[in-house]
Symmetry: C2
Subunit: 417 residues, 2 copies
């Protein structure tokens, strides 16, 4: 009886803790969505100007890159670390994200996209979320030992607010910080932040990405499973290669041209010429043109080499100083790859593009549940079995490569025989 009373009391304490976490999450979510609104307004303006001045504005790209390199060297050494700073805080090596990260990163993404670099936008959206979460965390000394929960919630809010996929955001944020483990304790705050950001984002008119696919894909258990398995392996290799080549190229170019300013001018010029020559900026910006090309009816032309060029140019741009993130480019690479290899298996290209969209994202970020979830949130629940198989396969063959260099890998202890 006494123990039952103790248990009830403990329950009440835990409920109030649950309540506090949910409140924190709602706060993080709401503020993040508000800043993302500003971010998105800026991006839309920038893209409009870019499209008017395209492709000639590309020749300003190296100088824009130079500006960003100088800016970060002078004012934002720590901010420039981007997601790696998030990992360092979570691993206890750093304490806070500087407030200025928010404005610096937003500005840098605007500039990068204005001049047509091949970069995404979710990476920075997540950094908006983590900066706000870190800022709030700093005001509550009681929660100083819970930094990871705040960071995870901020990432989820950032992803969900801009992208309108709250469930994907929860899984992604929880999965990505420690590959192979889910931080279940972070759930209440993360879920609250994610749903709130998605809701406020929706009210503010931030786009919820959805694509309509042809007739729903259903598989009867394992009859067709081998197709998704093989496609998934292909997507996994490409996603893993994206992360692997990024790492190698970054290291190589850093040794080759140690001076950051020279580096961005030289490599930036080469990239600008390539972006100009290859169909006048087809591979500039997020890559939503390629994604739309795969899914809208009638489909636009997708070249068999689109995925490869988009991949290499994105790696180039992000390696020398342009800012924006890898996630949307990964979506673009995956869909344009899926679009061209699906028909080899007798599949509707839009469907294999959908599988590629999800699976390459998962393989590049070394996550498993997030890509399955993004598949069903963006393309509808009907394809669940196919997304499940393709994303699982991609996750398993990506060799634990991740675009995030400092992602911790959870090593499982093997049971002694």
């Amino acid at each position: 009886m006494n123990e039952a009373a103790k248990r009830i009391k403990q329950n009440l304490i835990d409920f109030s803790e649950l309540g506090i976490w949910i409140a924190m999450g709602l706060l993080i979510g709401a503020i993040t969505a508000f800043f993302e609104f500003i971010y998105q307004m800026g991006l839309e303006t920038v893209l409009k100007i870019h499209s008017e001045l395209n492709p000639w504005i590309l020749f300003g790209m190296p100088f824009a890159g130079l500006l960003l390199v100088v800016l970060f060297e002078k004012y934002g050494k720590k901010s420039r670390k981007g997601m790696n700073l998030v990992f360092e805080i979570s691993q206890g090596k750093e304490r806070w994200i500087p407030k200025r990260t928010l404005s610096l990163m937003m500005f840098a993404t605007w500039i990068s996209n204005l001049f047509g670099a091949s970069v995404g936008r979710e990476g920075v959206a997540m950094q908006i979320g983590t900066t706000i979460a870190s800022f709030i965390n700093r005001r509550f000394p009681f929660f100083y030992h819970e930094k990871t929960i705040f960071l995870v919630s901020g990432m989820a809010a950032g992803f969900a607010g801009l992208f309108g996929t709250p469930y994907t955001a929860v899984f992604f944020a929880i999965e990505v910080l420690v590959a192979g483990t889910l931080k279940y304790r972070a759930l209440p705050c993360t879920i609250a932040a994610s749903l709130m950001a998605s809701w406020v984002g929706g009210l503010l008119g931030l786009n919820a990405e959805t694509h309509i696919l042809p007739a729903p894909l259903t598989i009867s258990s394992i009859d067709q499973g081998w197709k998704y398995l093989l496609l998934g392996i292909g997507f996994g290799i490409v996603g893993g290669s994206f992360a692997w080549i990024s790492k190698k190229f970054r290291g190589w170019i850093l040794k080759k041209i140690p001076d950051g300013k020279k580096r961005v001018l030289i490599v930036g010029s080469i990239l600008a010429v390539l972006l100009f020559v290859l169909w006048n900026g087809r591979y500039s910006n997020f890559g939503t043109n390629l994604i739309d090309g795969c899914f809208y009816k009638p489909p636009m032309t997708i070249y068999p080499w689109d995925w490869l060029f988009k991949m290499l140019l994105t790696i180039g741009c992000l390696s020398v100083g342009f800012v924006g993130g890898e996630v949307t480019p990964l979506f673009a690479i995956g869909s344009s790859l899926g679009f061209v290899i699906g028909p080899l298996f007798g599949m509707d290209p839009a469907w294999s593009a959908a599988l590629g969209y999800a699976a390459v994202f998962g393989a590049g970020t070394n996550t498993w549940l997030a890509p399955i979830m993004v598949g069903i949130e963006i393309f509808g629940f009907g394809g669940f079995p196919a997304f499940f198989i393709a994303c699982s396969a991609a996750y398993l063959v990506n060799h634990s490569q991740s675009i995030y260099a400092l992602q911790q890998r959870y090593e499982e202890e093997k049971t002694e025989a």
Copy 2:
């Protein structure tokens, strides 16, 4: 270039390992489904005989229990440990599951159900899977250090074969063995085993459980979220209490009546009388009568106390020697609880029953993704947001109680402030 070659070679090695794991999984899945066919045939026969002799056969229950206690004492001390043996092997404290577990457990579940004890069937189905997986593992010394992967695959096959929900089975098996961590390395074998068992099970006519719900449940982000949150908290408390009361009652009765034979005779008699008096065996067997009562149109009568009686009687039966498992009773408890509390929130009772079905199962087994998955596999994808919120809430308030006493809890290290 050399490194690229090495990487390609490594990829090929990993692909062949992947292939071996998939082959192992398919083998485990196929054999498990075959034995489950025998198990299910037996169960159907037994339930038919039971329903003809009900309720008078209940008075044989204490003697049936005595038979089982004697049987396990004589021939199956290790087998009797059930799921705990699985946990011990995974933790390196034991090596193998004795082959006889399979026949003993099947027989014991048949006898328990023949005489109308309130027990499930999935528990034993999972033990069929793990016994087969352990048997196969033993033949491959090369895999002696991978016992956990075999066990997880066996559990998934056992769950999927009988229940026809392969995706739930994957998450459940991976989640349950170490609460709070997902063993991602176990994926290829587990997925293959699960899909194969489900497919073969389907061919052999093992039932895939599905229920049709009224108009699909959709929520626009967080408008209705509080309802699912509150319901989820309720389900979490009940599911956690199931596990907690089980543990307490088992300990208490063991001290009170240390002799196993006497224990089953005395407690078994009390339970038999209760089962008889309370609507002539309404709470006997799996509890599918309650589940059907919630979902079939027109709904049968569900009493407000159904969930409580089912819970206490199941705990009683499983604590003294009857065999079968907790999972189906947890489904029954959850749906009959949801059915009566949903209307207090203005919800269609069938919908809240569906949420309870999933969330109480998750809270009782201390799993998070498996109950979300079971919700959408059994009731359709439309309710995803509601299942997500209710099951997350239930998982968070269950206090890490689990029906499996030896489930390891994954302790997260907190980041230093």
